[in-house]
Each structure stands twice: as C-alpha cells, then as structure tokens.
Amino acid sequence: MKKKRVIALLLLICLLIGSLWFLQRLFMPKYVDEIFEGRLIEEYYENAGGNDVMFIGDCEVYENFSPITLWEEYGITSYIRGSSQQLIWQSYYLMEETLQYETPDVMVFNVLSMKFDEPQNEAYNRMTLDNMKWSMSKWNSIKASMTEAENALSYLFPFLRYHSRWSDISTEDFTYLFRQEKVFHQGYLMRVDVRPVTTYPAATPLPDYQFGETAYEYLDKMVALCKEKGIPLVLIKAPSIYPYWYDEWEEQIEAYAKEHDLLYINFLELIDEVGIDFNTDTYDNGLHLNLSGAEKLSRYLGGILRETYGLTDHRSEPETAAKWQEKVNFYYEMKADQYRELEEYGYLKSYGGRKPEE
C-alpha cells in the first residue's frame, strides 16, 4: 500500500514536471513577429568562438554594425552581443559570459547605456535575460536588472512569468516550440528600408547630466575584466541622432577614456568622414542605421581596428573562409528578400526572417 502510494506520488510529480516543462516552452514568447530582438541573445551560443572582435551594447550596436562587412572588407571575424535597451550591467555580465566561451582580440562597447543607473523595464530585461544560458553571469545580471515588481524566481522558472499567455497561444507557439529560424547576421539585425531624418533633435535640458555611480561601477568592471584578460576595450558612441547625446555626457566619457587609456570613438562627430547620409542610411529617422549605413560604418570602424590592433585577415584560411561564406550567403539572401519585399509590398513584411505568407 505504502509502496503503491509512493509510486503514484512520484508519477504525479514527474507528470507535473513534464507538463510544466512543456508548457513553459509553449508559453515563452517566440519573438517571430517583428520583435525579433528577443532572440538576439540565444543565437550567439551556436556561433560562439573564433571571433576577433566582440561588440557589446544596445540597439546602437546590433543595428549599426555589420560583421559580414567587416569580414568581406578586412577578413575580421566578429559578433555583436547586443539586445534592446541593454543596460550596462547586462552588457558587463554578457561580456563576462562571452569570455567563458572565447577570448576576442578587441572588445567594443557602445556607451549610450551609461545614461541609465537603475533597472528600467521588465520587457527589455526579459529579452536580454530569458535566453541567456544558465551561469553565475546570468544570475548576477538578473539580480542587477530586476525592477521592483519582478521576482528572481520567475527567471529561474519563466513559466511563472508567462503562464498568463495561456489564452494568447497561437499556431506560431507550436510551430516554433522546438526550433527557431535564423534571423541575425552575427548578432546584426538587418533592415534595408529607408526612412530619412526629417528633424534633428533639440537638447532637452536635464536636471542632472552626471552619469550614475552604478553605471560607472560597471564600466570600471568592464575595464578591469578586459585588462585581466588582456583584451583592449574600445568605447564607441554610435552615430544615432536619437536619443540626444549631450555634450556633458561626451565630456565624461572622453575624460574616462583618457584616464583609463582607452580608445574612444564618437561616430556622431565623424558622420561626414564615415559617409553617412541620413537621407538614405537610416530606416527610422535617425535612431538606427539601415544596411547601407551599417555597412559604411563597419567599413570605417574595421579600418581603425585593423590599423590599431593589427587584426589578422582570415580570408585566406580555408576553414574559416568556408564557414563565413555560408554566413555571407545567408546575408545576401536576406538582403535580396528584403528588397523584394520592399518592391512587392512597399514595406518590409517579414524582415527576411521568415518568408512572407502567400
């Protein structure tokens, strides 16, 4: 009797765990409709290792730099570990995690997130954290990122967060239950459409221009980590004209870079030199560059990186070249798909991530 009871109880527990595991997969957002950014983090694990340059940051890296261009122009292998509104502590922990997989020759960090000193938004946290693989870096990133309403347990068991999606389940949740389609190009989110800049933002006065202590703390940690691993850290400010980059912020970053002997490039001051034309090189009025702008910017940055750090040209290495050729092919296929969509619909319907439904 007792044995029977124990077996039944164990079966119940197994059945519950199995059901919850399945339901968790089913309920978690698949990010296949427009908000592809939720899948940026997870694609890295298939491509980890062998990258010369690692970009870390928010949308100002994953929408403004094209690793494929860096490869084609200079034979530089690179990856972008970026996600939407990626806060500086998330960037730090992603950097820490990345260094568990590989040791790049150069680390590039976009400094826009210095403006945030506190956790911001659960939805963005989720896009950055949910698909990180389990490690101490992920746990520390969760603890640093949670807003007041969030609970760490719901990151351990995302079912607790997404159970309320039971009534929103669509066929896509079943289609992408155990598989995902590749969307990004070494962490780059491609957009070929054009929406020119119409107005330039005015500088709205802020009550305080000083970057916060927490932001500096994590920037210090990045510097220390890169130093420990012997990796040069390059600070950049991407040429996005929104949100406004204040002179006071610029001064602080310049002073920090000087103090820590870091290379800092503010592309906002190099727009003409890079050749960016905000009539043709942005898809959202200057927030982000489109493919044309990203390729120009990558070409320019690649030149600096090669000259400054003497990065190796891998194009003559057959194995690496073959591997990258596949990436290049996928890049041009998507590019062609996106232009075709633009021509057919007048707008990007699937962003090339999935074939538009006929």
């Binding site: 119940l12 659960e122 309403a149 607790l160 967060r161 309320s164 039971w166």
Partner: protein
C-alpha cells in the same frame, strides 16, 4: 508575507521540514519561533503590539486563575465554619478581584485596538461635524490585530468564567495568540479547542500531509483562479460608479459575492490546510453559506468563529447584565409581555451588529452594513408568524423550488448589503443600489458591456468553470468530507484530480506580473 507569495511558500516548506526533523517535544517551540518570524516580516516593530497583548492577557488570566484557585481552596478549608451568607460575600469579593483583572486587561487591549484602528475615523467625524482641522494620526495597523485581540480576549473571558484554567506557560500562550497560519485572517480559535493539537507532539502522518496539501491547493485555486481574476472586474466596476450603474450594480453584487467567498474561504482553506500539515486542527469557519435560506442561517454559516465569538462574548453578557435585566423588566411593564421581552434581545442584537460592523473596518460603510444586517434580522423575526401562515396556507415548505427561491433571495439580499464593502461611502452605495431600479440598461450586458471590465472571454470562461467546480465541491460536501470521498476513489482518478488542480492553479492563477494580485480581503480587518 502573503500566503500566495513565493516567500511564504519557501517559509512554509522550511517550517515543514524543520517541524518533522526537530524532537517532538520541541515542535511547538518551532511553531512559535516561526510564527514570530512570520509576524516580524510584516514589520519588526509590530512585534511590540502582539507581545503586549500576549503578556498582558497571559498575566491577567494567570492572576484570575490564581484567585479562583485561592477561592476554591479557602472555601474547601472553611467549608464547615462559613455560613451561606459568608460564602456569598467571600465569593463576591473574589469575583470583584477577578473582574478587576479581566476589565483592566480588556480595556488595555481593546483600547489599544481602538486607538490604532479608530482614531482617524473619530478625527474625520469630528472634522466633518465641527469643521475642525485635526490632523490624522495615520497609525500603521499591526498585522491581524483584530483577530489576535479577539482571540486573546475570548480566552481571557473563558478563564474569567472558569471554563478552564489559565495557561501557565507564557511561551505556549504566545503560540496560541500568534500561530502563523491563523494570525492574519482567523479563524478566531477558542483556546480549549486549539490547545490540544497545538502543543501536542505530532508524527509525520500521510493523511495529515495529504489532506492538508489538498486543502491548501483548493484554497489557492479559489483565491488565484477565481477571486483574483474577479477582482479585476470588480475594481473596474466600482472605480467608475457614474459609468457603471443599473445592471452593472447587479454585476457588482454578483461578482463581489463570488469574489469575497472565493477569497475568504480560499484563505481559510489555506489556513486550515497549513495547520493540518503540522497536525493542528483548526475550527471550520464556513458551512456552505450561499445555501442559506435566510439571513440568520447565513450568519450561522458564514465566518462562523466570528459569529460565535460575538454571540458568546458580547450578546450573552449584554443580555444578562444587570442594567439589561432592569430594562427588560421595565419594557415588559411599559410595552406588555409580548413586545417588552423583545426589547432587550433586539438591543443586544443591535449592539452586536454595531460592533461587528465596527470590527470589520473604521468607516460608516461598515457600521451601516452592520446595522442593515441587524434590521433585516429583526424584520425577518418580526415577520416570522406571517411566513409561517404563508407556508401553511400554500404548503411550500420543503419544496425544491421554494428552497431555491429562499436561497436566491438570501444570496441577493446579502449581496446588496455587502456592496457597502466596495463603494467609497454610504450615500454612493445606496445610490448605486437604487440605480438598479431606475437605470434601464440591461441591454448593455449583451452589447459588449462586460467585455470592458478588464476581463477577456477566456477569463469569463475560466470563471464560469471555476465557479461550477466550486459549486460542485460545495454540493458534494453536504454529505461528508470531499477529501474522504476523493480518497475512496481509485488511485488514477484521485491523482488525476490532484494533477488537474495543481496545473490549473499554476496555469490559470492570476499571479505574477500582468496581474494585480491582491492581498486577502480579510487581512485588512
């Protein structure tokens, strides 16, 4: 620490593991330590209040018992040498002493409760009447103060009435006052009922664990799947009273009745289930109240421990106190026997309902709510002969349809009174109820009105199914324990029910971000 929070579930798990790991004689001490940790979680400074009530009640009760023992010993010793009159005088003098201790303790504790809970209510009334600008004190209310104060005072009065001797061990008494599952929303336990299982050693028993967890899960189902989901609609309806009148007030009555039932009974299910897991038996607080055929019956079946507390410690003492007996005599002389004998009963009932209302909250809404209950009870009793005539004339008593009519009548009547809980003031509550008869907007229900209340069609579907399950369990409970019935089923059926229950809580429960998970309604009293 809310019962439905992750931290409470973790706390409970740790308590459970420790409880059956420590030596049995230490189990009650662990419960005490856990209860104080649980209490301190709400604010460490609140411990001072519960400690004050505990120490003052324990000491006063002990002194009362000492006096009673002293009296018994003295009378025994001087049995032969004292005449009847001497004994009477001696008893009276001793009674006076015990009464002094009892009254001092009650004044201290009820005074503390009154100051903390009602000061701002008094100030707001003074400001309103005399147009003064007295500053509100904004005292923070210690967790469960209404519940543990009443439970302690019940104990004190029982000791005073020599129902049982006082607990000698202060720590044991502290556990009785602070036992963590019940400290926030009851049930209001009696010492002689609870002390047996609270202090005795318990072995790990499958039945207790299994039944306890089933009861906890059932409570979670009612709270998270039904009550917290309905809360969204109720909040929408009452936050815009001008927009939601007429038929929407009917919805408020209906939704709030179900929400409160699921919330409060769910909370009590969790409480009783937790206690059972620790081998402690708590009193039941509900007996299918929505099947009551009249308001008196309803109050015998809803929040039973509160009702019996008011009956035993307010109604009876008032009914037999000297001034009430004098009033009774006088009223018989003035109004005649038939009416005169009712005056003291109705007066005591009025006092009980006034204090019941006040106990629920420091606002006129609750006082009017209490007095309306009193009014309906008095009218029902006065109309009793008329009902009897009607029943005899039309032979409707016991007929299924008439029973259903009585049940529905009680449900809606109680629901209409209950909405004083939800609207911000008394005039608004009356206006809203009045609008049912003056606003002809019944068609809005079928024109998408209910879809604007923050709930989706799947939510309503869950609510309907959840309410049906609740009804089915309630009906099944009429002929005995539902858990006993389930235990008699074949193993696959039983475990399938457990599986469905747990999974439905986890999937359909209104918890986490995206839901405004509320605290239990009765935590606020």
């Amino acid at each position: 620490m809310l019962f439905t929070s992750y931290s409470f579930i973790l706390f409970l798990t740790v308590m459970f593991l420790l409880y059956y790991a420590v030596p049995k004689k230490c189990q009650w001490m662990l419960l005490l330590a856990g209860s104080y940790c649980f209490y301190a979680y709400s604010g460490i400074h609140f411990l001072a209040f519960i400690l004050l009530t505990t120490v003052s009640t324990w000491y006063s009760a002990r002194r009362i018992t000492r006096i009673q023992e002293q009296q018994a010993a003295y009378l025994k010793e001087h049995k032969a040498s004292m005449d009847k009159e001497q004994k009477k005088r001696y008893k009276a003098s001793m009674k006076k002493k015990t009464k002094r201790w009892m009254l001092t303790c009650i004044l201290l504790n009820i005074g503390l409760l009154a100051v903390l809970k009602y000061t701002d209510f008094v100030i707001s009334n003074i400001n309103g009447i005399f147009h003064t600008g007295l500053t509100f004190m904004n005292f923070a209310l210690p967790l469960g103060i209404s519940f543990y104060t009443f439970q302690s005072m019940g104990y004190l009065l029982d000791v005073y009435r020599a129902k049982y001797p006082a607990q000698e061990n202060a720590a044991k008494f502290a556990l009785f006052v602070s036992f963590f599952p019940q400290v926030i929303q009851g049930p209001i336990s009696r010492y002689n009922d609870l002390s047996g299982t609270l202090y005795e050693p318990h072995s790990l028993e499958w039945r207790n664990i299994s039944y306890g967890i089933q009861r906890i899960c059932w409570g979670f189902f009612k709270k998270l799947v039904i009550a917290d989901r309905l809360l969204v609609a109720v909040k929408s309806l009452v936050s815009a009273p001008d927009e939601y009148m007429g038929v929407y007030v009917v919805l408020v009555i209906f939704f709030y009745a179900i929400e409160l039932y699921a919330d409060f009974t769910g909370g009590i299910d969790i409480t009783i289930g937790i206690a059972q897991v620790f081998g402690v038996k708590l009193a039941e607080n509900f007996e299918r109240p929505f099947f009551s055929k009249n308001i008196t019956e309803y109050w015998r079946r809803w929040h039973i421990t509160m009702g019996t507390w008011f009956k035993d410690y307010i109604f009876y003492p008032i009914s037999v106190c000297p001034w009430m007996l004098r009033l009774s005599k006088k009223s018989r002389e003035v109004f005649g026997k038939a009416i005169g004998k009712r005056v003291p009963v109705y007066l005591a009932t009025a006092i009980v309902w006034f204090t019941t209302g006040l106990w629920h909250g420091a606002s006129w809404n609750f006082i009017v709510w209490g007095m309306l209950n009193f009014l309906v009870i008095v009218i029902s009793q006065e109309l009793e002969p008329l009902y009897a005539k009607f029943h005899n004339r039309f032979h409707v008593s016991g007929k299924t349809w008439y029973n259903a009519f009585q049940i529905l009548r009680t449900f809606w009547l109680m629901g209409a009174i209950r909405i004083l809980d939800v609207y911000r003031d008394v005039p608004l509550s009356f206006r809203q109820v009045g609008s049912i008869f003056t606003t002809a907007n019944w068609n809005e229900l079928f024109n998408g009105g209910v879809m604007r209340l923050g709930l989706t069609m799947p939510d309503y579907l869950v609510l309907v199914l959840g309410a049906l399950v609740m009804l089915a369990v309630s009906l099944a409970g009429r002929s005995g324990s539902v858990r006993d019935k389930l235990a008699a089923k074949p193993v696959p059926v039983r475990y399938l029910v457990y599986y469905a229950l747990i999974l439905s809580i986890l999937v359909l429960g209104a918890y986490g971000i995206g839901y405004d998970s509320s605290q239990f309604i009765y935590n606020q009293f």
